[in-house]
Assembly symmetry: none
Homo-oligomer: 229 residues x 2
Amino acid sequence: MQQILIVEDELHISALLKTHLEREGYQCSQAFDGITALEIFYQQLPDLVLLDLMLPGKDGFEICRTIRERHDTYILMLTARQEEIDRIVGLELGADDYVTKPFSVREVLTRVKVLLRRPRTQTSLVPHEESIIFDELELKPAQMKVFLRGKLVNLTALEFDLLHFFMKNPGIVFRREQILEQVWQEHSEVYDRNIDRLISQLRRKLETNVENSKRIITIRGVGYKFEKK
Amino acid sequence: MQQILIVEDELHISALLKTHLEREGYQCSQAFDGITALEIFYQQLPDLVLLDLMLPGKDGFEICRTIRERHDTYILMLTARQEEIDRIVGLELGADDYVTKPFSVREVLTRVKVLLRRPRTQTSLVPHEESIIFDELELKPAQMKVFLRGKLVNLTALEFDLLHFFMKNPGIVFRREQILEQVWQEHSEVYDRNIDRLISQLRRKLETNVENSKRIITIRGVGYKFEKK
DNA sequence: TTTTTTGTTAACATTTTTGTAACATTTGAC
DNA sequence: GTCAAATGTTACAAAAATGTTAACAAAAAA
């Protein structure tokens, strides 16, 4: 069941939202000030946060920023004034959507539904936990180990992440940009060509000179893909 | 500069939106019924479509579906009634956002800005587009692969982009100018005749001397089109 | 601390793609 | 049919993209 955290200091609004959201089958928790909001957030790690901008304690901007530093929970802003909207939009705070007060409950419900239906960006075709196996190549996410013909391959953390990323999305072509974003993540003030170098390294470890062992394919002018063959 | 197509049959609303959007630096074109909307769409390939649901000719749903079949242009729905919103949300029509009538111009502007700032490619990690198939010719966007009678055709990135562009817009005639803009994009300080050369190359790879295999048609004095046959 | 490992950047080698030009062919107007 | 303009085709050089190695920096381990 999907969890929603309602951060709103006006009691009756909060209660109203809670009632309607629960009627739609979402599980809700409430926070009435900024400090508690973050506490509850970390406790529950909800799927979506309904976030009022004007709050006692920390304001919505700060909470939004804090959450977005590490989590990809959806954030739906509730806001009263146009200037606030401008700030949301202007600052690229990272909120996923906003609703202006006074809002209709229906409006909020609809936007919640739209957001929660949207798959998170980190789409993967294969569930995270299980081994990913392509013929003689096996990757065990939990143990961070990779086996080639049953033999353990020694990979660094980055090499592993890159391979993991590819194996989660076999056959799909990724541009360098996307690879940086997904594997290096936010810290990605990193030089493009690192990818090439890392891939070169990975290939050396994986593609022992056995026939037909090319797995990581170069797509010239675009990027790379992992071929399941 | 970013192009917006306004599809709205009420003249004064359309005009109002146009004025304000242009003041914000967007380039706007207008359509007042569903049929023209699609015509203009293919001609201009705008970055965003403001789409009224109630329209003479084809209604907004149909247009939305048609566009979304092959294009990832942003679509912002303008809608009057709650039931319509439910349908938008429920049917997963693929619209990116909606605004309820009566709307404030400011609201529309804000949502347009938010959408257009979002880089399209990063919306989803894995391109959601599906294969485009015309008889014996199949193109898989995510995998950047093209099959001719089941056999993989080896294309360079540029060749692929060009073919992809054509196959997204079958039957539509494009002037060289437009092709440069869409396929070569901004860097297009490029000689016209490159298109001819590239097309010649493409044809050689696609139109094996089997009868009736002409797909890319020359329109003398204008440009080219892709024929779905 | 020192040592070792890992990640980043730079530099150079190699390959592939692309842009241009030159020439050939086709088309349609006359 | 002739001719001019538009398009098709080919070859080749320039440019861009990638592979690879090495050197250095940063982080982790000892």
